[in-house]
């Protein structure tokens, strides 16, 4: 029984999402450091950022607990099912949030704490409670919050906002629409039931497929930027081109799919997008530490 409760609280934190964010934050820290990353910053900085992201995730569970019940993907979530009360969820989120701010202010620096806080407000507040229901561009605009971890990691090391940090943010920002829209095609009926205006529901699946392609092409251009501004070298360039080709191949398959296969392929595109981002950031890391 105890283990089930712990598992539920962990689920409130959206661990897989936070893990991917921390990977990108570590890469931000690595690219900002000449040589090895300071252990204190690596551990305490990421702990602070992770706790903040977990806090925001818990608020998201709270805010969405009613509509989560309508969607197959989310209907078994702890608050939707009543396994954790709304009150406990809010308290949990508040505790994590305060802890996150304290760690970042005390051990890292103020600007990291401030930008982390603003990202949380953007995601848990503006996106979850307002944007989501206001426009089909909801995840495009709200994506800036999820794109911030590389900048947060960079700020934890240097305290300054350098161009390379913003390039990393832009990569994730441009990646976010194809990532979420692929999911939205796969979960078309869920979002229709929950009455959330995702692009496939408001403008049709074909329109969405086209825009996934446009963003995929834009992503190709943006992922060239690290090399273009001389933040990264040939290793990154070659790996990123291969990854982009792989991603675009699956995006094209989605575009050419028909009504019978599109939802299955959309799910595949979603999974590919996650591995794509992971490997892209690993490529940045490899390039930074192994000079040809």
């Amino acid at each position: 029984m105890q283990l089930e409760v712990i598992k539920d609280y962990v689920e409130l934190c959206k661990p897989r999402v936070v893990a991917l964010m921390i990977l990108t934050s570590i890469v931000g820290m690595a690219l900002a450091s000449s040589g090895a990353i300071s252990l204190k910053i690596l551990v305490l900085g990421n702990l602070g950022i992770a706790l903040g992201a977990c806090s925001a995730a818990a608020i998201n569970h709270f805010a969405d607990h009613r509509i989560d019940r309508f969607m197959q993907r989310t209907q078994n979530r702890p608050v939707a099912q009543g396994r954790i009360s709304t009150f406990n969820t809010v308290v949990f989120a508040a505790v994590l949030g305060i802890l996150s701010m304290w760690i970042l202010m005390h051990y890292i620096n103020f600007i990291t704490a401030l930008m982390t806080f603003l990202s949380l407000i953007m995601y848990a507040g503006i996106y979850t409670c307002y944007l989501k229901y206001a426009t089909s561009q909801n995840i495009v605009i709200g994506g800036i919050a999820g794109a911030s971890p590389p900048l947060l990691g960079w700020l934890a090391v240097t305290g300054q906002m350098d161009p390379m940090a913003w390039v990393l943010v832009m990569i994730i920002f441009v990646w976010t629409p194809p990532h979420f829209w692929a999911l939205a095609i796969n979960r078309f009926d869920d979002y229709a039931k929950a009455k959330v205006p995702m692009l496939p529901n408001t403008h049709g699946i074909l329109h969405t497929k086209k825009f996934i392609l446009y963003y995929g092409l834009l992503l190709l251009a943006v992922t060239l930027l690290p090399f273009a501004i001389k933040g990264s070298g040939l290793i990154y360039l070659l790996l990123s081109l291969m990854l982009n080709a792989w991603f675009l191949w699956w995006i094209c398959k989605l575009l050419w799919s028909n009504a019978a296969t599109e939802k299955r392929i959309a799910r595949k595109v979603f999974n590919v997008s996650i591995i794509y981002l992971m490997l892209l950031f690993v490529a940045l890391l490899l390039d930074h530490y192994f000079i040809v």
């Binding site: 103020f110 600007i111 401030l114 806080f117 603003l118 507040g125 503006i126």
Partner: protein, 331 residues
């Protein structure tokens, strides 16, 4: 015959315009441009910043222009407000809904008093009690325009009186506390106490070192130039500390009030209103802390002023629903 839609658009435009004027006012004050034109309403007697005054009086052109642009936009706001009040009058006659008369009266009074305060800001050389009222007056104009808008949009509320006495008491208390904290913020700014204390969260000032008497002296001595502030370091630190403690008390109250409403209410309008209070409150606290720890960069300071306006707006908005709408709609 005035269409409701025309009035609503006019009010929205005036409201947005007043928000912009607040930003301009903050910018003028924060770039020390408030006294760049020693007369009012002209600048050295001219409508525009003329080259002759720049040369002969050694005026800083960018500062004089900041001040004059603020005045131009404030002047046009005055015209927009007059138009709104005129159309509002027609609307009231048409609909026989007299609820907007109270906020309209407030707005009319402000329309006269605020320009006077603007004039005295210059002629009394940034006397804190004048500049404070001028800042609060700007916020009051912004909020009153929104208030009228709320009344127009929710005409139907006035046919059924809401019974929630407890909720109305809490809302009144929230408004009072908000007003006090806005006053403290303005007082901090007008006495140049914003950067008196770079430590966070506490100042290096013990309670018995604090100079409450001088910190909150509201009276005035004429002929003194208040630019840069005239108070001692201790008095300024006192003002800063009281503003921080105020943020803690008022912030906690507003947060508890809005979170409670989100949990208790099943009325979508209430929940949305409470949500915006929470968002603006959290952002305002973050900006306040950023002002201290980043040593009051211009952008953060202007945003702190604008966020105060938004916080005031959202608090009045929520209070409006507490007074006129039902917290729990019967299923």
């Amino acid at each position: 015959m005035v269409r409701s839609a025309t009035l609503k658009i006019l009010l929205s435009v005036a409201c947005l315009w007043s928000f912009f004027v607040i930003g301009l006012g903050a910018y003028t004050r924060l770039t020390d441009a408030g006294l760049s034109c020693p007369d009012w309403p002209g600048c050295y007697g001219h409508v525009l910043v003329s080259r002759s005054s720049v040369v002969s009086h050694k005026v800083q052109p960018s500062q004089a222009w900041s001040e004059m642009v603020h005045r131009y936009f404030a002047g046009t706001l005055g015209i927009l407000i007059l138009m709104s009040l005129f159309f509002l009058g027609l609307w009231i006659k048409q609909t026989e809904c007299y609820a907007p008369l109270l906020p309209a009266g407030v707005l009319l009074a402000l329309l006269i008093y605020q320009p006077l305060l603007g004039m005295w800001t210059v002629t009394e050389k940034l006397l804190p009690i004048v500049v404070t009222q001028h800042l609060l007056g700007g916020l009051a104009i912004f909020v009153s325009l929104w208030w009228i808008r709320l009344v127009i949009y929710h005409e139907g509320f006035y046919r059924v009186k809401s019974q929630q006495v407890g909720l109305r008491v809490v809302a009144s208390l929230a408004l009072l506390l908000l007003f006090i904290q806005l006053f403290l913020g303005a007082w901090t700014s007008t006495n140049y106490a914003a950067m008196s204390c770079s430590a966070f969260p506490f100042c290096s000032l013990t309670p018995w070192q604090a100079d409450f008497k001088n910190a909150f002296r509201l009276g005035f001595s004429s002929g003194v130039n208040y630019q840069g502030g005239i108070l001692s370091d201790n008095a300024r630190m006192t003002i800063q500390m009281v503003h921080r403690y105020g943020a803690l008390v008022v912030g906690s109250f507003l947060l508890a009030w809005s979170v409670a409403i989100i949990f208790i209410s099943n009325n979508k309008r209430f929940i949305q209103a409470a949500f915006w209070v929470i968002i603006f409150l959290l952002l305002q606290v973050a900006l306040g802390i950023a002002n201290v720890l980043l040593e009051r960069p211009l952008l953060i300071a202007v945003m702190h002023n604008l966020m105060a306006a938004l916080l005031a707006l959202s608090t009045v908005n929520l209070a409006f629903f507490c007074f006129h709408d039902k917290l729990k709609e019967s299923a």
